[in-house]
Subunit: 219 residues, 2 copies
DNA sequence: GCGTAATGTGACCAGCTGGTCATATTATGA
DNA sequence: TCATAATATGACCAGCTGGTCACATTACGC
């Protein structure tokens, strides 16, 4: 079931950390810019100033390099999600949603290349183990959303006359699409996030959450 | 503003229609399978059994071929949308949404390659005129959704104490995500559309629409 | 200082890419 | 019948790809 994690070779682990980081940073940028299949290892070695042969001493092949980077990505998402949820454990469900959405925005601001890779992986068929990668990545936000929803219902934040799985689906779709629209303005149907300053962006977040609350809280 | 439409050359128009269709079908499959940058014109000429040079007598270059196919795609979407909306002009807003969703499902069933290309274009940077293409394509569903929503409000189907632009955003995100989940089961968070038979799928559609109705109709 | 193991290197490989072009084939019209 | 124009063709091009490998350089233990 679990996708095999391809470790970098020991040679890579023995490298000075700053050299490791340089290589990872370059490869990350390359995959973000070109996706998996079109990413060029020649570019990677040129830009990180190592020899072609060296790259293959560090990673078995293109796939291993990509999977290693995606693995790091997953770890960051895990950490960010855990932290975001923990910081609002006491709040009501919709305040929690708002915090998650802000965490997503911060993630995009801080790790645009990771988000870019995510968007590409979503629909690029050649990505190795694509379905497993996407599933594993989305697991973390999602496995929080369900329990939070259930807790919210118990707490009385959320109406009980609505199918929970479907409601969670809609919430998830809304949050994810909001983040996509934030990162890709051409997906933004009518919210005008692109032209937003920080103030207007906060306002848009608040409004989305408010509509969800209006629709989902007990009447 | 308007993206230039690259016509195929006259040589292509003069071809027997079945030959035209053969070439288009092969190219469509190739772009669907490999996206823009990785799509291989050598594959296209091989599979459609024409010479490399002939392809370049029909289309100026790869970009022109791709844009022509996307243009056809857009026309189909236009037609399908118009028809779906016209057929439920009299219904209430949520019945209209349901019809649109079913139309989307039918579209995916009938034109899986077009939908595949759409998903790829969404996030593949190298696609020529990507933003314009996506914008032009999404325009049609979207320019219907807004007015339908407004009409629904006037008719009393929809509560008036909720920001319309944001509500439309959520509805759009939900419908689009539903279709993506239908086509790409790994995106389906908890609805189980993949394992569905036709009956269960209809049920899932009904449920999603019901939750939207519960949330958006006047209380 | 020396032998050995680990690491670094870039020329090289086959196979592919989008695109070109001289030439061969066919259709047209008088 | 024949000249001319339109179309079909595939060998060819430079440039790229992921990956390999024989060899040079460095590090390490004695």
């Amino acid at each position: 079931m679990n996708a095999s994690l391809p470790q970098p070779k020991n040679t890579f682990r023995n490298l000075p950390p700053e050299k490791q980081e340089r290589i990872i940073a370059v490869a990350l940028a390359e995959f973000a810019a070109s996706g998996y299949r079109s990413a060029s290892l020649n570019n990677v070695v040129k830009r990180s100033e190592i020899a072609k042969g060296s790259l293959y001493q560090y990673f078995a092949n293109k796939e291993a390099l990509f999977l290693h980077i995606f693995e790091r990505f997953t770890e960051v998402v895990k950490a960010v999600t855990r932290e975001a949820v923990a910081s609002v454990a006491a709040a009501d469900f919709f305040a929690q949603l708002e915090a998650i959405l802000f965490a997503g925005i911060r993630f995009i601001d801080e790790h645009p290349d990771y988000f870019q890779i995510y968007l590409r992986v979503l629909f690029e068929q050649e990505v190795p183990q694509r379905e497993a990668l996407v599933a594993r990545l989305r697991l973390f936000p999602l496995e929080y959303l369900g329990p939070l929803y259930a807790a919210g219902q118990r707490r009385g934040d959320i109406r009980t006359d609505v199918a929970p799985a479907t409601a969670v689906f809609i919430v998830d779709a809304t949050l994810e699409r909001f983040l996509q629209a934030y990162a890709r303005p051409y997906l933004d149907s009518g919210l005008g996030l692109a032209a937003s300053d920080a103030q207007q962006l906060r306002m848009a977040v608040t409004t989305v959450i408010k509509v969800l609350r209006d629709g989902l809280s007990p009447r």
